[in-house]
Amino acid sequence: MMHVGRVSRIRGFVLVMVALQPLMTGHAAAVDAPSGGTEVGNFMLSNGMQVVVIPDHRVPVVTQLIMYKVGAADDPPGKSGIAHFLEHLMFKATKQHPAGEFKAKIAEVGGRQNAFTSSDYTGYYQVVTPEALSTMMEFEADRMRNVVLSDAVIMSERNVILEERRSRIEASPQALLDEETRATLYQNHPYRVPMIGWMHEMEQLDRGDAMAFYDRYYAPNNAILVLAGDVDIAALGELAEETYGTIPRRELPPRVRPQEPEQNTKRTVALTDPRVTVPSFEKSWVGASFRTAEAGEIEALELLAETLGRGPRSRFYQELVVKRGIASSVDADFDGDSLDASSFTVSASPRGDAKIETVEDAIDAEIRKIVEAGVTDVELESAKNRLVRSWTFVRDSQTEMAALYGTALATGRTVQDVQNWPERIRAVTPKEVQAVAIKYLKSERSVAGYLLPPEDASSGD
C-alpha cells in the first residue's frame, strides 16, 4: 500500500495513499473527534493559504509540511526538470538568511528535513521538537518569497541534479523503462515528461528559469500548510497569521494542462539492457484521478488494483505465482491522488523456465475474467477490509498523516473528501469494479513494456 511512484526526490519520507476513518472537521478551531478518530483542524489564512492541523501528542515531536500546488507537470515546454531543480534551490540563501542558517536551526534540535517533487505538487518538511516550530514556520515562510540565487549556486546544484538523474534513472534499467513507458502512454499530457527532466534539457536550466517558475507559483494562496504532531490547534492560528499570513497573495495562472486525446492504439516499448538477466513485463493504461473521474470510479479502481494484483490474496498472485508457478512476482498499481488522470499498471516477472509471453497471456486472462464476470462479494469484502484497515496503521505516523492530507489537498480534494474515503470504499459494489475494468483496461489502448536481457545472453549464470 505504499506508493512512492511519481515522487522524484524522497529520502526517508513515505507517501501513503490510504483510507481514513470518518472524522469531524473544525474551522479555525478544534472539534472533538469521534472516539478512536483523530481531530483535524482546517482553516484558511487571510491571504488564502490553507492550514491543516493533525494533533498527535504521544511524543514531543511535530512535523511541518508545506505543499505547493505546482509540480513537474507544470514545467514549461523545453524546461523539463525546473520544478524539481527549484526544489533543490530552495535550500540556498534568502535575503535575510545566508545559506545554511535554516538547516543549522533544524540541526540544533536534532530535527530532520527534506523535500520532494511530484508531477502535481512540491513539498518541504521538517520534523522537530515543538519548541522549534515557530522558528521553522518563520524560515519556511521566508523562503516562500525571499530566495536569492547566484550563478555559482546554480552551477553546482545543477551538477547535483544531473548526478541525481544518473543515480536514480540511469543506474536502473527498470527506471529507464518506466520513463520510456510513460512517455509512450501519455501522448499529449505533460505526465509524459520525466519529473526529474530529460538530461539535455536539465543541462540548460538556468537562474532565470528557476526564478520565473518561483515567481509564478510560490505564493501563500498556492500553498497548503500541514502541521502534524504535538501541537495545539488553537495556538497555531495566530502563529500562522504572523508568519505566512503577512505574505501577500499573488495572481496565479490557471491550473490547466494539455489533456490526452482519445487513445486508440496498442503500443509496445522494449528495453534491452545488459544488466538484465530475467525479463519482466508491465502493461499500463491511462486511468483517472479524483478530479477527472465520475463519482465512485477512483474507489472502484483502487479495489480493482487490490483484487487483481496487490498482495498474496490477489488473483494474479494466486493464479500465476501459487497455482501455475509461472511468475516470481506480480503487482497492480493505481493511485487516484493526482490532478489529472494517473496510470493503472500491472506487472509480472516470469519464474524458472516460464516464457514472458506465457506470463503476459496469464495476466491478460485474469483481467479478462473480471471484465467478463466481475469480482465476487467475498473477495471484494476482503479487499475493502485491507484498504480500510490501512488507515488505522497510517495514523501511527505523524509524517505519513501529514503527507496524506498534503497530497490530497494539493490535488484538488478537501479534508472532508479524505475523511469520507472509507465510507466510499465500503459503498463500492462488485458491478462498479467490473464497470471500471471494462471502461479503463481496454487492451486496444494499452502500453506494454518489456525489460529484456540481451538476446545472446544465457539466462542466469
Binding site: K103, G110, E131, S156, S167, R313, T399, A457
Partner: protein
C-alpha cells in the same frame, strides 16, 4: 488508566520496572517523558512495553539472535528461506488457509533474516489482537514447511537472485562482503545462492528452526493498546512453548580486511565508491567519540563535512554519507557515494583530504557542540515518533545487549565527549589504509 506514551509527571513511575525516557532536552522534563515498562512472565519471557491508546492497534516486534551466520556451510540462505516459510502454513493450516486467516483478521506479520538475527513484526487492530496472537504463535512455534510452498518460495528467491546477477550495484554488494569478510560467515549473502538453495530440504529447515527459534535468544518489544497483564498472557501464548534454549553455532569475532582495492569495471555513467575504515563496537569506551566524529565527518545529511565539500560546494554527487556499521561480530566505518565518472578521481581525493583533516586536526568546539545538540535532541525524532518505530528501536537496543535505561544514559555519555576524545578516536579509526571499491569505468591514475 495509565497512558504510558503520554508525558508522565516525574515520579509517576510506580515501580522499578518502569523507566522514563526523556525525549526532548529542550522541553521541561515533565513534558517529555515516555515510560518503558519491563514485563516478565512467570515462565521468564521478557518484553519491553510502551503502553498507549492513541491509535487502536498493537505492534509486536521481536527478534531471535542468529541470522544467516547460522546457515550451515554449503546451505547458505537456509535461515532466510526458513523465515520466509513461516507464513506459508503452520499447525493445522496449510499455506492457503493460513494466509486466508491472516487476511480475515486484518493483521500484518513480517519476518526477515539478517546477518545476526531473524526479526519479526506483528501489527493488528486492537479488536482482533487475540486471534492475531494465535496465528503468530502458530507461525513461530509450529511452521509446517510443506514441500509445495517451499518449492515455490525457493524458486521466487532464486529468480530474485538470478535477476540481479548482472546488475552492477547488486553484484558489487556481494563482492564487497566477500572481499571484506573473507571466510567469516558475514561474507555470505543472506539469501544464499541458487546452488546452496537447491540443496535445502524441508527436514533441514525444521532442524534449523528448532535450533534458532528458542526463548533464550529472543527479544521482544511491544507498543500500543495493551496493558502489562494482557501482554504477559500474550507472550506466554505466543512464545511460551518454544524450546527454552537455542542451539546456535558459535560465530567468531572478526574485522573487515582493509588496505585493499576492489575494482569492478562496468560501462556506467557514474562511479560508485565505497570505502571501509576500522569501526568501533558499542562496548568500546571510545564509541560515542567515534559516533560524534562520524556524525561531523559524513553522518549528518545536509550538514556534514563530506556533504559540504563533495555535494554542496562542488555538485559532484547527489548523496554522500559515512556511517558506523555495528554487527554483533564486526564493526566498520563506511563511506559511500556515487559520482560522475569523469570526476571520480577528484571526489576520491576530496574524501581523502577530509579523512586526513579529521585524523590530523579533529573537530572544533563549535562543531562538537552542534553535533551533540543534534544527536541528543534528534533521538526521539529519529527513533520514537511512531509506535512501529519505537518498538523497532527497543528491539534494536535489546539486540545490542544494552539496558532499559540506555536511552537516558546515552545523553550523559554523549555530553561527556570532548574534542580531545574526538581527536583520539579519529586518529585511531582514520589513520588506517582503507579498503576501497570502485564500481564503473576504471579511473585514470587511481589510487588504492
Amino acid at each position: 488508566m495509565m497512558n504510558m506514551f503520554h508525558r508522565l509527571p516525574l515520579g509517576a513511575a510506580k515501580s522499578l520496572l518502569v523507566v522514563l525516557v526523556f525525549l526532548s532536552p529542550a522541553a521541561t522534563p515533565a513534558r517529555a517523558a515516555m515510560a518503558i515498562q519491563q514485563v516478565e512472565t512467570t515462565s521468564g519471557i521478557k518484553a519491553w512495553l510502551v503502553e498507549d491508546y492513541t491509535v487502536p492497534m498493537v505492534t509486536i516486534q521481536f527478534a531471535f539472535r542468529g541470522g544467516s551466520t547460522q546457515d550451515p556451510p554449503g546451505r547458505e540462505g537456509s535461515v532466510n528461506l526458513m523465515s520466509e516459510l513461516l507464513l506459508e502454513g503452520a499447525g493445522d493450516l496449510d499455506s492457503d488457509a493460513f494466509r486466508q486467516q491472516l487476511d480475515d483478521i486484518g493483521a500484518e506479520i513480517g519476518l526477515s533474516a539478517g546477518l545476526d538475527a531473524v526479526q519479526g513484526s506483528l501489527q493488528v487492530p486492537v479488536d482482533r489482537k487475540d486471534d492475531a496472537f494465535d496465528l503468530l504463535r502458530l507461525a513461530i512455534e509450529r511452521p509446517r514447511f510443506d514441500q509445495a510452498p517451499m518449492d515455490r518460495v525457493r524458486a521466487q528467491i532464486v529468480t530474485g537472485i538470478t535477476a540481479k546477477a548482472k546488475d552492477p550495484l547488486a553484484v558489487s554488494n556481494v563482492v564487497w562482503m566477500k572481499e571484506i569478510y573473507g571466510d567469516h560467515p558475514y561474507s555470505r549473502p543472506v539469501q544464499g545462492s541458487p546452488e546452496s538453495l537447491a540443496a535445502a530440504t524441508t527436514s533441514d529447515l525444521k532442524a534449523l528452526h528448532n535450533r534458532v527459534f528458542a526463548r533464550s535468544n529472543l527479544v521482544i518489544a511491544v507498543t500500543g493498546a495493551i496493558d502489562a497483564d494482557a501482554l504477559k498472557s500474550a507472550m506466554d501464548q505466543i512464545f511460551g512453548r518454544l524450546p527454552a534454549e537455542s542451539s546456535l553455532m558459535p560465530v567468531s569475532e572478526t574485522a573487515p580486511k582493509l588496505a585493499q582495492f576492489i575494482s569492478l569495471p562496468y560501462d556506467l555513467p557514474q562511479n560508485e565508491l565505497l570505502l571501509a575504515y576500522p569501526g568501533v563496537s558499542l562496548k568500546d569506551p571510545q564509541f560515542f567519540a567515534a559516533y560524534l566524529m562520524n556524525h561531523i565527518l559524513g553522518g549528518d545529511a545536509f550538514m556534514s563535512r563530506l556533504w559540504n565539500e563533495v555535494r554542496e560546494k562542488r555538485g559532484l554527487t547527489y548523496g554522500i554519507n559515512s556511517y558506523l556499521e555495528l554487527g554483533d561480530h564486526a564493526s566498520a566505518l563506511l563511506i559511500r557515494t556515487a559520482t560522475r565518472a569523469d570526476r571520480a578521481g577528484e571526489t576520491l581525493s576530496i574524501i581523502d583530504t577530509e579523512i586526513k583533516r579529521m585524523a590530523d586536526e579533529g573537530v572544533t568546539e563549535e562543531e562538537l557542540e552542534m553535533a551533540k545538540e543534534t544527536v541528543i535532541g534528534g533521538y526521539a525524532i529519529h527513533n520514537l515518533t511512531s509506535s512501529v518505530q519505537t518498538a523497532n528501536t527497543l528491539v534494536g537496543i535489546q539486540l545490542k545487549n544494552l539496558d532499559i535505561d540506555f536511552i537516558d544514559e546515552r545523553q550523559g555519555l554523549i555530553e561527556a565527549v570532548t574534542v580531545e576524545d574526538i581527536s583520539s578516536a579519529a586518529k585511531r579509526l582514520l589513520s588506517a589504509k582503507p579498503a576501497l571499491m570502485i564500481v564503473g569505468p576504471p579511473l585514470e591514475g587511481k589510487k588504492g
